[in-house]
Amino acid sequence: MKKITKAVIAVAGYGTRFLPATKNQPKEMLPMIDKPIVQYLAEEAVASGIKDIILVTRFGQSALENHFDTNIELEMQLEKNGKTKALEQVQKTYRMANFIYIRQGRHLPYGNATPLLCVKNIIDKNEPFVYMFGDDLVKAKTPCIKQLMRVFAEESPAAVLAVQKTPKKELGRYATVRYQKGTKINQIEEILEKLPPEKAPSQMAQFGRFVFTPGVIETAESHFRAGKFGKDNELWVTDLLNELAKKDKVIAQPIKGKWMTTGDPLRYMKTMVDFALDRPDIGPEFKKYLKNLKISS
């Protein structure tokens, strides 16, 4: 097996829940303080040793490509105005990795595994890779991806997925895992999509961070070719994981850190408040402001 150097980020979603704000910008471009959400993902990947970042996009998302590109007019203007720090920030976005873009065509099915169909010609047959959902952020001392890559290197499974213990009342929104009895390496028996809390096999919910062996792309392909789709006629990562888990090791790794999603307006704004409070430049003042609101419920 080759070394892991590629991360695939799924950013082809429509962001309908954020309309009209997302009318002509992808939801992954929505700001988180002063950076688009997707930049946090790219930075997490780079901090974990990733060299190539493959963004699976769709029609109308050129803002993403422009963000990770050079921007000569802007750079010249910043240089002329002596804004060295801002210039550094702007240049860092295109220097940090090698960016590759693939468009997800309309002929492909909906689903969070569909981007895997799009990257089959970029990932080698013996090359494991990282897969990320564009709307999940993780606050962690050791980058989440790095934590998964360590487990992958130690156990050589077919796939590692990140999970986090989640309050019962929220479990219905996510996929939850059933661990094998007595497993010492967090090996799973199966993973189940969006079950009501009382039926969920555990409180460990999957979020958008994975390390996959290239076999997962083959599995996705075979499902697609056979028209084997899951819930709502979509192609789901969970269905692929279950197939892998039948014959191979699939590990659901609890992450040290905090997963926060930006997938809908409420959670996006909660995450935004959380990140703003963390920032040394605006956090203390912002906290004072929130305190003065004297919120009563």
Binding site: D34, L290, L293
Partner: protein
């Protein structure tokens, strides 16, 4: 004569939000589910403005597309049966008659107004900044337009501010006229509390007459070598009477820097019927952390 045209300068880089503003205009920063500039545009429309002249530059295409039809998206929403979203997306293009002008000339906030000259023509017009809005009851522009229709004088909107703001804003030197109306003598940029002539700050809302254009054309670069709208307005004040209106029931929402932007977002999400109650619980927990 009624004012039916508004100029919204939106050509600045938005350095304070870099790198986000690398590929997106700062006027497109979302406040809950709408970009900041939409609040300004909707205020114009609800105050009776018909033509909205947005002064942009090379990296602001997203604003033009936003206030246009987007057939691909409309087709998709229709197919998914999302009628409510479809309506909200489609009406953006129908809000007003949008005119886009590219900014040319020297640095400074007077330049976009001069760039809009041919689009404005020979009639009075409003100028509102594209990255801040004022929530007021009735809307601030409506309050200003009512005064203009009565007095036919150029005017600026004012808000009373505390000492801290006096070193950040343009402060009005005024003589009392009647109630919330003042004779405007000049605006002094960021004088600080000691030198401030009053506690009335001019807040990004100007109703101007076309005789501002000859002044703009001859305007000399001021502070930092830039062309300042305030300098031109001060020139206008010397030529003719001008007014300052103290806005009633008003509150400024500024997205010009990160802290103010996040304050604005919090205020608006708390007002949102769906998100507000859930956010309240979360903020309470966060504050007590």
């Amino acid at each position: 004569m009624k004012i039916t045209k508004a100029v919204i300068p939106a050509a600045g880089i938005g350095t304070r939000f870099l790198p986000w503003t690398k590929a997106m205009p700062k006027e497109m920063l979302p406040v809950v589910d709408k970009p900041v500039i939409q609040y300004v545009v909707e205020e114009c429309v609800s105050s009776g403005i018909k033509d909205i002249i947005i002064v942009t530059s090379w990296h602001k295409r997203a604003i033009e597309d936003y206030f246009d039809y987007l057939p691909e998206l409309e087709w998709r929403l229709k197919k998914q049966g999302k009628e409510k979203k479809l309506k909200r997306v489609k009406r953006l293009a129908d809000l007003a008659n949008f005119i886009f002008v590219r900014q040319k000339g020297n640095y400074g906030n007077a330049t976009p107004v001069l760039s809009a000259k041919r689009a404005v023509g020979d009639q009075p017009f409003a100028v509102l900044w594209g990255d801040q809005f004022i929530w007021a009851q009735p809307p601030r522009l409506k309050q200003c337009l009512e005064v203009f229709e009565k007095y036919r004088q150029p005017l600026v909107a004012g808000l009373r501010v505390g000492q801290e703001e006096m070193s950040k804003r343009g402060m009005c030197q005024v003589k009392p006229y009647k109630e919330e109306l003042f004779h405007l003598q000049k605006i002094i940029e960021k004088p600080g509390p000691k030198k401030s002539p009053s506690d009335l700050a001019a807040y990004g809302t100007y109703l101007l007459t076309p005789d501002i254009f000859p002044i703009l054309e001859k305007l000399k670069p001021g502070k930092d070598g830039e062309l300042w709208l305030v300098d031109a307005i001060n020139g206008l004040c010397q030529q003719r009477e001008a007014l300052a209106v103290e806005l009633k029931n008003a509150r400024l929402y500024d997205s010009g820097n990160k802290l103010n932007y996040h304050k604005t977002v919090v205020d608006f999400m708390l007002r949102d019927k769906e998100i507000g109650p859930k956010m309240k619980a979360y903020l309470k927990e966060k504050v007590n952390d």
